[in-house]
């Protein structure tokens, strides 16, 4: 049940352009252990700016 909820929450977040922070941390730990990853707030702002940079991908 909590797995389903987590998946729904992840879907809802990606629907508005926010990818998984955990996946980002995993990526950074795996590939760039020497670099400090962005914290949650910085990550959120980074993704928010990225989503609307080109208009935000929306349809008619």
């Amino acid at each position: 049940m909590s797995g389903l909820f987590a998946k729904l929450a992840e879907t809802a977040r990606l629907m508005v352009g926010l990818p998984s922070y955990d996946a980002y941390l995993r990526h950074m730990a795996e590939h760039h252990p020497e670099r400090a990853p962005m914290d949650r707030t910085a990550f959120f702002r980074n993704r928010q700016d990225a989503r609307y940079r080109g208009g935000g991908g929306r349809c008619c």
Binding site: G17, T41, F44, C60
Partner: protein, 682 residues
């Protein structure tokens, strides 16, 4: 055989339901027949056609690294769970188009629209979305313009980019027009939509400074705020002070929207655009799910005839005959060119495995077509008298319930004046006469369905304004985001001539491009708002033509890629829908320019008015010589626009044929895919 048994069962149920839908004449049928037919055919179409395309035409390779694997950066390129990505992609492609187009198409009865949505999505719309996703996925997730450039050369790429910009302008104008038609003279609706601006700003401040990134909780606050706004809106509308304050004429609303467009697209995204995007996205998904549940519970009978006399042309909602104009009008629910921009946007960068592409590319579009089917059902469960009273131009209906009822009864859909007054009262509006644009009609239908399930007739007015709010909210988000996207496209295009214009961080070029972009859609919006025939009549077909032409461009790109992959023996998969879209759009474009019928042809209409100007005569509905001049000017601009779209699509056809012939001469595959070798991720 055994593994096919279930699918054969779906096929049989689908075929039976469709035959019920198609052969009933005179007696009313239940909406669930249409829903069942659509769902079964979509499932079978997915299982056999989408998977055929995946395995045989594209030869998807689950072992081949996708852009998310090759270039994974945890930000733009992230391997994403299949269902999560499906939700993301569907939310990005679902908009106002599939809701409005089918409602307008219902003037010909429910049957033509149903058949085209079902056939169109399986053979054309979903194929387009899926093919472009595939092409982009094999090329690092590049955008449509870049893909055209890569596969067909720089000239074709620039033409496609310019075409996409103009199409975007028309889209924004028509969306804004729908909002104007829905909110004009409606203080309740206007108040609730106006409240969303400070509400979204409060949410923006919350997510920026107070609890950053808490999208879930801030959206819940926002939802509570929206519901309160709808409830309070009723008393605001009835108040002798505030009611008139929130009552605007269409022309006033037009200027408000233009001003809003400029300001909103300059504000930082976190303040207004992003938080309203949360609200509109979640509300949209919620409303779609609720509508599906509501239709199944209510199982409403269809009151609209299967085919009306307007299938032959002469309808009041939009002009022209079934071929080609029905296919132009339904647009997004069956085939949407805009989806090619989404399928070559964020989705290909997030897909984790090539094997996920069918369910995301093809599957999400089937879902979109299902939304279109629900919109068509919604329009068809209304009394046809109400439908035509809401969707015919004021010039046809006259000013009050008595004249409107008489006009609609004369069309062959008998209705009494007090039924129109009562219907308006039920949804808490002063009048529903000539509320064109599709959104109010759908809102009445949603109010009908939701109040049947929850709250009874007393809740109708609430649900009507809820539906209007939900439509206006995501249209405003689209206007805002689209203006930003248009601005960047324009900076790119002008930057080709003036390189300094490309700097997206500089203030002056950004501001100039924004004003140009808003000016572009504002011009067509103003033209639509002041059009005595209601504007939707003129603008929606132009939008439909442009959108279907963009789809044709996307499918031509896909065809060129198949030829360059040396898969030309399967290129019929994209060539058949391309041919059909070219036939429809070029016929419709030619008719819109040259038809001798002034209701259809822009130039014929302009000629009548310019001849009258020469005689010094003022023709109704114009009231002055200046208005006469404006009508002639607008007609010529619209004709020029259709000509431009036809130039774009024909030149892309030329480049496609040239590319395909060159690919055939070359014995080896020439498609420019990124090689299948894995490189270490960044």
């Amino acid at each position: 055989m055994k593994k096919h048994a279930l699918w054969i069962a779906f096929a049989i149920i689908g075929a039976l339901s469709l035959s019920v839908v198609a052969t009933s004449r005179g007696e009313t049928i239940n909406a669930l027949w249409i829903v069942t037919a659509a769902v079964c055919i979509f499932l079978v179409g997915y299982r056999y056609y989408a998977l055929f395309i995946a395995r045989t035409v594209m030869r998807l390779d689950p072992a081949r690294p996708t852009p998310a694997i090759r270039r994974g950066d945890g930000l733009d390129y992230v391997p994403t769970d299949r269902t999560v990505l499906f939700g993301h992609h569907f939310a990005a492609i679902a908009g106002a188009g599939p809701l409005v187009g089918p409602v307008l198409a219902a003037q010909m009865g429910y049957l033509p629209g149903t058949l085209w949505i079902i056939a169109g999505v399986v053979l054309a719309g979903a194929v387009q979305d899926f093919m472009i996703l595939f092409v982009s996925m094999r090329r690092d997730g590049r955008s449509l313009g870049e893909l055209v450039r890569m596969e067909m050369g720089p000239v074709a790429g620039t033409i496609a980019l310019a075409g996409a910009f103009v199409i975007m302008t028309i889209l924004l104008a028509v969306l804004a027009l729908i909002v104007v038609r829905a909110l004009a003279e409606s203080p309740w609706g206007m108040f609730t939509v106006a409240v969303t601006v400070p509400l979204a700003m409060a949410m923006g401040i919350y997510t920026r400074w107070i609890r950053p990134g808490r999208i879930g909780e801030v959206s819940l606050f926002g939802l509570v705020g929206l519901i309160l706004a709808i409830v309070v809106g009723q008393s605001v509308a009835q108040s002798p002070v505030w009611g008139p304050f929130f009552t605007f004429t269409p022309v006033q609303l037009c200027w408000i929207l233009i001003g809003y467009g400029i300001v909103a697209s300059i504000l930082p995204v976190w303040l207004l655009l992003a938080p309203r995007d949360y609200l509109s996205t979640f509300l949209k998904i919620g409303a779609i799910v609720a509508l599906a549940i509501g239709i199944v519970i209510m199982a409403p009978p269809l009151k609209m005839p299967a085919i009306t006399q307007f299938a032959g042309g002469g309808g009041p909602v939009w002009s022209g005959s079934l071929f080609p104009f029905l296919f132009i009008t339904i647009a997004c629910g069956a085939v949407s060119g805009f989806h090619s921009l989404i399928s070559s946007g964020t989705t290909p960068k997030l897909i984790a495995n090539e094997a996920h592409a069918p369910v995301i590319g093809y599957g999400a579009m089937l879902m979109e077509a299902f939304v279109a089917i629900m919109a068509l059902v919604g329009a068809s469960i209304l009394d046809p008298g109400i439908y035509f009273a809401m969707n015919s131009p004021a010039a046809v209906l006259g000013a009050d319930a008595a004249s409107a009822a008489a006009a609609v009864t004369a069309m062959g859909f008998p209705i009494a004046p007090d039924m129109l007054t009562q219907a308006a009262k039920d949804v808490g509006e002063a009048t529903i006469i000539s509320r064109t644009g599709g959104a109010p009609t759908l809102a009445v239908a949603m109010a009908e369905i939701f109040s049947h399930v929850l709250g009874g007739p007393a809740m109708k007015a609430f649900w009507y304004h809820f539906a209007i709010l939900f439509e206006a909210l995501f249209i405003l988000t689209a206007v805002d985001a689209g203006t930003r996207a248009g601005r960047f496209m324009l900076q790119d295009l002008i930057g080709m001539a003036v390189p300094s214009f490309k700097d997206t961080s500089a203030i002056a070029p950004g501001l100039i491009a924004t004003v140009l972009c808003v000016g572009g859609w504002g011009f067509f919006l103003y033209q639509g708002v002041t059009d005595p025939l209601g504007g939707v009549n003129t603008l929606w077909p132009v939008f439909g033509i442009s959108n279907q032409m963009l789809a044709a461009i996307a499918l031509m790109l896909a065809t060129a890629v198949l030829f360059r992959m040396k898969q030309d023996r399967y290129a019929w998969v994209t060539m058949i829908p391309t041919a059909w879209l070219l036939i429809c759009t070029i016929t419709a474009g030619t008719l819109k320019i040259f038809s001798g019928d002034p209701k259809v042809g822009f130039l014929a209409h302009a000629d009548i008015f310019s001849a009258a100007i020469a005689r010094g005569e003022v023709l109704a509905p114009a009231k002055s010589m200046a208005q006469m001049q404006a009508i002639v000017f607008n007609d010529r601009v619209d004709a020029g626009l259709c000509a431009f779209f036809m130039f774009v699509v024909v030149s892309i056809l030329f480049f496609t044929i040239r590319t395909c012939l060159a690919a055939r001469r070359d014995p080896r595959p020439t498609a420019r895919e990124i090689p299948a070798i894995a490189v270490p991720a960044e």
